[in-house]
């Protein structure tokens, strides 16, 4: 006899608090992100969107409360305010490094495919410091998507993108919806309104 068990949420937080010294950025936050959902986090500046996303990614530890994120680091993709790439290296060299660290099989093929998809193929051998901000952000997306993560955490990914890049991201998110869980922080909630399953509004 098979028992139907509700799938446990991918991200589970209860009473989550984060303090920076005496200043509390997140207080008493409860959150459940079901696998396969698309949660959009909005709120004014300083409301703790970035902090929350960093906590989920594992880059920061909660000051108080419970936070459980299921899955391994190898399944997590993270897009931050900074592109998190080495400026003195080329796109190829950067992605090659991450490809090795994430142990991606046939990484050259995958790198080539991603660069192509995000319109960076022509600039692949040039140093990242020569890229525009939009191009750097697109490279950041390549970096985050390189290992085909099942949990994708994006911190205001549209902020630095030009129109073309934003369209590429739209397409990418729509494709990923089917097999990944997405957690996205943004100012511009209208953009993702069609795809999202839940919205979390943080108060400052």
């Amino acid at each position: 006899m098979a028992a139907v068990v509700a799938r446990a949420p991918l991200v589970h937080a209860r009473g989550l608090e984060k303090r920076f010294g005496p200043k509390r950025v997140l207080r008493g936050l409860d959150l459940d992100v079901a696998a396969g959902s698309f949660v959009v986090v909005t709120g004014a500046n300083g409301s703790g969107k970035t902090t929350l996303l960093r906590l989920v990614a594992g880059l920061a530890a909660p000051s108080r409360g419970l936070l459980v994120v299921r899955g391994e680091r190898a399944q997590l993709g993270f897009v931050a305010h900074d592109p998190l790439v080495y400026r003195e290296l080329s796109a190829l060299e950067n992605l090659d490094l991450y490809g090795r660290l994430y142990r991606i099989p046939e990484r050259r093929v995958r790198i080539g495919m991603l660069l192509e998809r995000f319109g960076l193929w022509d600039a692949r051998a040039e140093r990242v410091e020569t890229y525009s901000r939009g191009m750097q952000q697109r490279l950041a997306l390549c970096r985050a998507l390189l290992h085909d993560p099942t949990l994708l955490v994006l911190d205001e990914p549209y902020a630095a993108l030009d129109d073309e890049g934003a369209a590429l991201l739209d397409r990418e998110l729509a494709e990923r919806r089917s097999h990944a869980t997405l957690l996205l922080a943004t100012h511009d909630a209208a953009r993702t309104a069609q795809l999202e399953t839940d919205r979390l509004v943080l108060a400052a």
Binding site: R19, F20, G21, P22, K23, R24, A61, S63
Partner: protein, 211 residues
């Protein structure tokens, strides 16, 4: 508190046994202070290890307080050691005294601990880094001691006897009393400082919650 008085009693009793001259009395303080400093650093490292192990925030404050106290005792070791050097050998400093040189190196190390803490933002990151540094400190103690012993052949050919005076029964008793007294003094100061800091933190939290 009563036991701090016990340590003071040792000071009064000691002159009875000091047949090497009243200046020898400083020995009863210098070595216990040094041993207490070691104990504090060891405790600080242990609390640091507990922090890394369990992740419980309270260990950070415990570790910090222990290291702080250890540094104070370490400074006192240098001061009393310097006084001892002056009375025994006529100089304010002696590179031949292994204990003294070791404490100088440790003093530099643990002063850097506070500089490190000061440069980091309050939080789990600072707690972890401080804990790791405290662990390095406690490993540095024996390694440095060994190094300083080796260094004597290079830097200072004459080795001063570090065992101190041969202690007769009553002198030994006085010494032990001083040692216990010093430990208890350290423990009292530790408990006091820890409570004080915890209250400070709680107060700040409450203040923040009210605004």
């Amino acid at each position: 508190m009563v036991l701090v008085a016990g340590a003071a009693l040792a000071l009064l009793w000691a002159p009875e046994d000091a047949d090497q001259g009243p200046s020898q009395r400083i020995f009863y303080f210098h070595v216990p202070i040094a041993l207490t400093a070691y104990a504090c650093f060891g405790w600080g490292a242990w609390k640091g290890l507990r922090l890394l192990w369990t992740g419980e925030e309270r260990h950070d404050l415990e570790s910090y307080t222990a290291v702080h106290l250890g540094t104070i005792f370490g400074t006192l070791t240098l001061v009393t050691g310097s006084i001892w050097a002056r009375t025994s050998w006529g100089q304010w400093w002696s590179w031949g005294s292994r204990q003294l040189v070791l404490f100088l190196v440790l003093f530099l190390f643990y002063c850097a601990y506070f500089m490190l803490r000061y440069s980091l933002a309050d939080g789990a990151g600072r707690a972890r880094i401080s804990a790791v540094y405290a662990l390095f400190g406690v490993v540095l103690i024996p390694v440095s001691f060994l190094a300083i012993r080796l260094a004597e052949d290079i830097v200072h050919p004459v080795v001063f006897d570090q065992d101190g005076p041969q202690m007769s029964g009553s002198m030994f008793f006085t010494f032990c009393l001083c040692l216990v007294g010093m430990f208890l003094l350290a423990a009292t100061l530790y408990a006091n400082e820890l409570t004080g800091k915890r209250l400070d933190a709680r107060l700040r939290e409450l203040r923040e919650a009210l605004t």
